[in-house]
């Protein structure tokens, strides 16, 4: 928090939930002055632009959304189809904003999948309450920071512009109701390609180039954006699944195509079908790298350790965040999030929280903490950054129940200890 206030070189993209009032007021004042000619595209730092991923929480985590011109790779989990949730929201968002969408799938009939696209949710009472509650939380936090008196005058601006923000936000990204399918007349504008029909890469490449050539040209500063969604790219049903080099070459072609035009491509990958070296190549090619992991049902130990375990569908891990036109990487506060369905309708991403533990029970915290760390490490094979978890305990006065404690990770740097 101190760093955001001090150094001018700190980019506003370090996604910290408790950002200082500086960056927030700066961005909110910019949002109110700048009238975007295309509401579906938000201007970002360093001459980049964002489009929404369809999941507002994910946009926030990634520092604004998916960068236009970036390639997003989602590594699937063989046990669960949660990556489809990401794809669905992404495509629906594009349709709602009238952005051209191209969908490629290894299914014989990709249009069948389009029937499952969610429709925008009407803001419910809970949602409005949630945004208000969110606003109150921030105020609490700010009070806790003991901000000097002269900054209080900015709070007034913040509250008045927050309403404007919400309206502007509604244009950029929507909450989607996964129970309501998208209207048929909107869905028909999505172009589909079946990967089964493309026997080799050259044919597939031509089809994609064809789509690119038919896109409307962006005029003046009215930035147009389009979206490409590819499901399960190297699944065995694709004709070219045996040819690793061809597939990597296609990903590279996709990246260069996306980079030189205003597009975002989201590609999901079943990781078990690729050799590890090619998987690494694709990971290097990706601008934003996400992975989705399933959580086993009825895991009693996990249920004891995490709050809200019953609602959790799976885990989303952010490995890499796109950095275009800059060399500074985005360091997230936490990179593993819980995927939840609120009221079976909308997809949210939440930080992992540790459940309260009874002090009367004899088990030591170290054992439960280390167990949890081990579970996280097992379920996140690549999350080498969770070395150990220290559970911050706040004991109630004379009480025995502990409050919910957020999960903190301890990173040891030689000669200094950094607790985040």
């Amino acid at each position: 928090m101190a760093t955001a206030a001090g150094s001018p070189s700190c980019s506003p993209r370090t996604a910290a939930a408790a950002a200082s009032s500086f960056s927030r007021t700066a961005s909110s004042s910019m949002a109110s002055h700048h009238v975007p000619s295309n509401p579906g595209v938000k201007i970002g730092p360093n001459g980049t632009a964002f489009v929404s991923s369809g999941i507002p929480d994910l946009d926030r985590i990634l520092g604004g959304g998916f960068l236009l011109g970036s390639l997003v790779l989602v590594m699937e989990d063989a046990d669960a189809p949660h990556h489809l949730l990401l794809l669905r929201n992404f495509m629906s968002q594009g349709v709602v904003l009238r952005q051209p969408v191209l969908f490629a799938s290894p299914l014989g009939d990709p249009r069948a999948f389009l029937g499952t696209l969610p429709s925008p949710a009407s803001p419910s009472k809970e949602q409005i309450k949630r945004t208000m509650a969110g606003g109150n939380d921030q105020q609490e936090l700010e009070k806790g920071l003991r901000i000097a008196w002269q900054y209080k005058k900015y709070f007034g601006d913040q509250q008045s512009s927050s309403i404007h923000d919400r309206d502007a936000k509604q244009e950029f990204s929507n909450e989607f109701d996964l129970r309501k399918p998208l209207e048929r007349r909107l869905v028909q504008y999505i172009e589909t390609i079946s990967l089964q029909d493309s026997p080799d890469i050259v044919v597939l490449r031509d089809r994609f180039s064809n789509f690119l050539s038919r896109l409307p040209r962006s005029d003046g500063d009215n930035l147009s954006a389009s979206r490409i969604a590819i499901q399960s790219f190297c699944a065995p049903q694709c004709g070219f699944s045996e040819r690793d080099w061809d597939m990597v070459a296609f990903i590279r072609f996709l990246k260069s195509m996306v980079r030189t035009s205003n597009m975002v491509a989201v590609v999901t990958f079943p990781t078990s079908y690729l050799q590890p070296s090619f998987l690494k190549r694709c990971q290097h090619l990706a601008d934003t790298l996400l992975s989705v992991r399933a959580i086993p049902d009825e895991d009693k130990d996990l249920a004891k350790l995490l709050t809200g375990y019953q609602d959790m569908l799976g885990l989303l891990h952010v490995h890499k965040v796109a950095q275009m036109n800059t060399q500074v990487p985005t360091v997230l506060e936490t990179s593993t999030f819980a995927l939840k369905l609120l009221k079976r309708r909308s997809l949210v991403l939440e930080r992992l929280n540790q459940a309260p533990v009874e002090t009367s029970s004899g088990t030591s915290y170290s054992s439960s903490g280390s167990y949890f760390a081990k579970r996280l490490l097992d379920s996140g094979k690549k999350s080498t950054h969770h070395v150990a978890t220290i559970i911050l305990l706040r004991k109630g006065f004379g009480g025995h129940k502990l409050q919910n404690t957020p999960l903190w990770s301890l990173h040891l740097i030689p000669d200094e200890v950094d607790i985040r």
Partner: protein, 265 residues
């Protein structure tokens, strides 16, 4: 942006690589190895900036396979170096290979790959010759490749063509006053049986720079650590020995901070 003052105080990286004030280097071939979690592109940006500074007497050929020119332009502009200006002054020859394909319709064709590489090499050679003519064979040339794993993909995995191309570029360094800087991704080869490209590069290079994350995890203040192995360093007694440097880095928009572990405040 102001080219008139002298280059900033040398930092740990310049010391380790032996980059002089005029931007000249004592090595011929340097290899940068990075991984998914810690990208090594900032090293290329740094060296590019040092090579194009006002006192630098040479020129740069940049094979940009990973990013478009605009990306490098913006990044270097924040670091105080105007790439478009240098390109117009012929000090920088940027070869945009973002959509490099040696493919011919109908699949891979070995001849097409060979021709593609030959064309690429000829382009580099032509620029070097033109530059030498202009400056009467004075001044050095730096060839920067970002990055070589993409050349491999463009060559459809045929390592023989990639080796040949590398060998041609390596001869350039010995015959003409060139130095070569290559970015490669080390973690791609860690599980592969065929490690030939990696070992070949390792053998050819005088300096190997490895960019990794900290073994303890990610942090906001330290983005990673560098291990520099300088193979042809001259020891005190005059015979060559390897010198190893190890320090950490933090990336900022306009510079990179290098410091020994534990000395960052």
């Amino acid at each position: 942006m102001n080219p008139s003052f002298s280059s900033p105080t040398t930092n740990l990286l310049d010391e380790a690589l032996g980059i002089g004030r005029t931007g000249s280097v004592p090595w011929r071939i340097a290899l940068v190895q990075d991984c998914v979690e810690a990208s090594g592109a900032f090293l290329l940006h740094h060296l590019l900036k040092r090579s194009l500074s006002a006192e630098a007497a040479g020129a740069v050929v940049f094979l940009g396979l990973a990013q478009p020119f605009s990306h490098y332009d913006r990044v270097l502009r924040k670091m105080g170096c105007n790439l478009s200006l240098q390109r117009n002054k012929n000090k920088l020859h940027f070869i945009d290979l973002l959509d490099l394909e040696f493919l011919v319709a109908g699949g891979t064709d070995q001849n097409a790959i060979e021709d593609g590489f030959m064309n690429l090499y000829n382009r580099i050679l032509r620029f070097i010759e033109a530059n030498n003519l202009m400056h009467n064979n004075g001044g050095w040339i730096r060839i920067i490749i970002d990055d070589i794993s993409l050349l491999e993909i463009a060559a459809q995995g045929s390592s023989s063509h990639t080796f040949d191309f590398l060998q041609y570029c390596a001869t350039l360094t010995s015959e003409l006053d060139c130095s070569l800087l290559i970015l490669n991704h080390g973690d791609i080869y860690s599980s592969e049986e065929d490690q030939r490209l990696l070992s070949h590069l390792d053998y050819l290079s005088d300096v190997v720079i490895k960019a990794e994350t900290l073994s303890t995890g990610i942090a906001v203040d330290v983005h990673g650590q560098l291990t520099i192995i300088n193979k042809r360093a001259l020891g005190e007694l005059g015979w060559s020995s390897s010198k190893v440097y190890n320090f950490q880095f933090k990336l900022k928009e306009n510079a990179v901070e290098f410091f020994y572990p534990g000395t960052k405040f």
